[in-house]
Amino acid sequence: MIDALFRILALIRKELLAILKDPRSRVSVLIPPIMQCLLFGYAASYDLTNVPYALLDHDRSASSRAYVAALDGSGAFQRVATLDSASAISGQITERHAVLAVVIPPDFERLLMAGTAAPVQVIADGRNTNTAGTAQGYVSSITEAFISHWRSEHGQQASAGVTVNTRAWYNPNFETRWNMIPSLIGTITMMMTMILTAMSVAREREAGTFEQLLVTPFRPSEIMIGKAIPSMIIGTIQATSILLVAQLWFRIPFAGSYAVLYLSLFEFLAASVGIGLFLSSIARTMQQAIIGTVVIMMPFMLLSGLTTPISNMPVALQYLTCLNPLRYAISMTRQIYLENAGISQLLPEMLALLAIAAVTLPVAAWMFRNRLG
């Protein structure tokens, strides 16, 4: 038993040396997660700023100018064209100069003064429906604010109707970055740890060192543990570096408990490494290992809730996401990071990850025993 422990420690040390000794490989393990976190932290946002829009103001009244001023002053929009005729709209949008065209009717002020509804047309470029929808949402909030201001200025406050007053928990300004960066902890580390694990055996196979390892007293299960732990250590280092970038660079306040976060990470990495080991026992070459990883990672990423909510997916796919460790990792890191979730709140995710690890690791061990040689 104690011999086995020493053997495993030796293997762990050897694996870490092999990864961290070569400066090229050391850089490729430590720098990309930070770079990706920075880059994607800035890039991966549904929040829009300076959306280019074109204005066609048929009214040119005091009220319409005030409305336009509200749009221009919001910070969300940047007027790139002021048009004279409806025929110019098409070119602006089609050629991607503007994402939106706002058309104010000729009787805008008159209708408002008359106490009725003034129709404003908002035309959006639907090639990116996501951006278009968000931009239209922005217009609607600005319009809401403008009209209530207009009413109070024109002494019509009394009949304002029911208003909605929103409060946001955990992320008061609805910043995408706040939920995106904690999600990257899982996404980036999973990609890297799976590649490392899947390649580690294929690499030894191609170099011929694997047979040398197999004739030593190592048991398959010891080799597996010795391959799994270094990947998990590297994954933990990567996760920590992303966590540091999130707090020190992006200044996203960490609400939760580090103990809970690292416990969840441990479970998540164990589950992912299990999948990586499974792949590594099948892959004969490094090429097969990496392609297997990418082909598996892609659905994991798409079905994780990272970019689109899981609740929107068809029911069958929602069930499928239950097998996806990344789904739980993202949901857990968000909850711990932003909501200060405790173990009791995370119990369903923790149990699910435990179940995944309890399947992938033994299956990988079984595959190891049966496919070695």
Partner: protein, 583 residues
């Protein structure tokens, strides 16, 4: 009309490489020689002598730092493509596409060399007949045995008759039968088709087939001449020695090899072939053995060793002392194989093979490429399961045995298979721990290994960057750290130079004398003389088993010289194959 330019003219060629550690290695230094039209020129020399670099420069793949290389009248450095249009080059590790079939590989090279389609049938026919690959045209190249791969590589190189053929160690890892066939092909090409060939080899007997030999050492040309001229350097100094008291040839060889008056000693046909430093046989301190020396004809290898020992490093003591020799009683069975069968699909790789190896014996597995040696070996080491039969190593079945059983054996693979990116120390430390060594004892064993194998000065170098001979030592050191009872050596001397091979066998002999059981595979037939017993396999069957003397009785020679192991080996395999064809 002026005569055609000489195929190869080298003047003052030099080449250096810079290692990762920024140290400069001189690969070639002031190399000059020429090869005449329609000749076979052999480049011989130890590992790292610069043979491969020289051939790569000739092929236009590596530019020289200084000097001039003219190939077929062209300056290679200036016009590599023009040279490549006319030569055939077979690198040491021929780049067959293993996921393509034999025919597809041939087609590819025929297309690349622009062989006209209407001539192909005839060329393919003669190449496939010559290489005996005709039955396997649709087989994937990766599924061929090592010797067949080399032959296919040669066939690919020869799809078009080149003006110059460059071959880099074409016979490494090739069995004696296939080697003989390969050389028949080469001689045929030179004599019948007027080809010019430059070939590098570490099998010194092959140099005797060549018209011209260039002996290289550490990037320089040590000597040049016909094989007879090189051989003549040992003239009158070669003897066959045998001990009156019936001392085993192996032990006598170990004894003589260390003798100061001896240049070289190898076991041969039950005696020991000795090259003396003087025309008289060595005498000092040998009286008690009552040796009988009879003069014999020198061989190329003897001349080479005379040349080589004059410049080579001092031979390192190959004595090896175990602190804990194996505990099993003498005469007990270490390895037992009964009715061993292994099939891959419908193909039977090992067909009812049985043998026993006793403690302290050196046991050899010999056979042509594809005979089932590797498969048997891998089953013995527990790397693949047997289909049926029993197999016990150190009283355990390794396939199911726990760590404890595997801790009692050591394994040196054919190809260097320690971790190339880790240093010597890190590798030793890893394998020591893997074999259960800890604390003081681990440090002690690592120090022992580094001293024994002279690795101390290199201990912080990445093991992948070590010179070939040192890689082999490191592999042995790692396999001996835990003082195994049984040692498995898979073609451990393949591609090694003669001196390194003798050192290696010195160590093996010392180990077996201390009770370590050793199982080896090798393609150097003369090395079989070091074995206590050996088995010859072909097509998965054991054809002959016994002591070297028993095996040699299967062979016969018409020229009256003593039957060598190679003669016997070829006789056994060919006899069996003829009987197979007949039935």
């Amino acid at each position: 009309m002026s005569p055609p330019p000489l195929p190869v003219v080298l003047r003052g060629l030099a080449k250096r490489f810079v290692r990762d550690t920024s140290e400069t290695v001189v690969a070639l230094d002031q190399v000059s020689f020429r090869a005449e039209q329609n000749t076979l020129t052999a480049l011989v020399g130890p590992d790292g002598a610069g043979k491969s670099t020289l051939l790569r420069i000739l092929a236009g793949l590596v530019p020289p730092d200084a000097g001039q290389a003219e190939v077929l009248g062209l300056d290679v450095a200036a016009a590599p493509q023009a040279v490549q249009n006319r030569i055939g080059y077979m690198p040491q590790k021929f780049g067959l596409y293993e996921d393509l079939s034999v025919q597809q590989n041939l087609d590819l090279y025929a297309d690349l060399h622009g062989v006209p389609p209407d001539q192909r049938r005839e060329i393919y026919h003669s190449l496939l007949t010559m290489t005996a690959l005709a039955p396997f045209t649709s087989r994937l190249a990766g599924a061929l045995s090592g010797g067949m791969k080399q032959k296919l590589g040669l066939a690919c190189t020869l799809v078009r008759s080149p003006d110059l053929l460059l071959l880099d160690e074409p016979t490494v890892g090739v069995d004696p039968l296939s080697r003989r066939e390969l050389w028949d092909i080469l001689r045929h090409l030179v004599h019948q088709q007027g080809l010019t060939v430059v070939v590098s080899t570490s099998y010194l007997d092959e140099a005797e087939f060549c018209g011209h030999t260039v002996v290289m050492h550490q990037g320089r040309v040590l000597a040049e001449g016909t094989p007879a001229e090189i051989t003549a350097r040992a003239a009158g100094r070669v003897f066959l020695a045998s001990a009156a008291n019936g001392m085993a040839a192996r032990s006598l060889q170990a004894h003589l090899f260390r003798h100061p008056e001896v240049v070289d000693a190898v076991p041969e046909a039950g005696s020991v072939r000795v090259v003396s430093t003087s025309p008289a046989p060595p005498q000092e301190g040998l009286a008690e053995l009552a040796l009988q020396f009879s003069p014999t004809e020198p061989r190329f290898e003897d001349g080479f060793m005379v040349l080589f020992r004059a410049v080579a490093r001092e031979q390192h003591s190959s004595a090896i002392v175990l602190s804990r020799p194996p505990a099993a009683p003498a005469g007990s069975i270490s390895v037992e194989v009964r009715d061993l069968v292994r099939t891959f699909g419908s193909f039977t790789a090992v067909n009812h093979v049985s043998f026993q190896v006793k403690r302290g014996e050196i046991y050899g597995l010999l056979g042509p490429n594809g005979a089932g040696k590797s498969t048997t070996f891998r089953m013995l080491c527990g790397l693949i399961p047997a289909t049926s039969g029993t197999l016990r190593v150190a009283n355990a079945d390794l396939r199911t045995a726990r760590a404890a059983a595997r801790a009692r054996l050591g394994y040196v693979a054919q190809k260097f298979s320690l971790y190339g990116d880790l240093s010597v120390d890190e590798n030793l430390d890893f394998f020591a721990t893997a074999y259960g060594l800890r604390g003081h004892r681990k440090r002690e064993r690592i120090d022992w290994a580094k001293e024994q194998f002279d690795l101390g000065a290199l201990s912080s170098l990445a093991s992948g960057s070590l010179p070939g001979g040192y890689k082999q030592r490191l592999a042995m050191a790692a396999a001996l750290l835990h003082e195994p009872d049984i040692l498995f050596l898979d073609e451990a001397t393949s591609g090694a130079d003669p001196l390194a091979r003798r050192e290696f066998w010195g160590r093996i002999t010392a180990l077996s004398e201390q009770g370590v059981t050793v199982i080896v595979t090798t393609h150097f037939m003369e090395e079989a003389e070091y074995c206590d017993r050996l088995v010859i396999l072909d097509s998965g069957r054991a054809l002959a088993e016994g002591s070297p003397a028993d095996i040699r009785r299967h062979g016969q020679r018409s020229d009256g010289r003593p039957v060598t192991m190679e003669d016997a080996f070829i006789a056994i395999v060919e006899n069996w194959r003829q009987r197979q064809e007949a039935s």
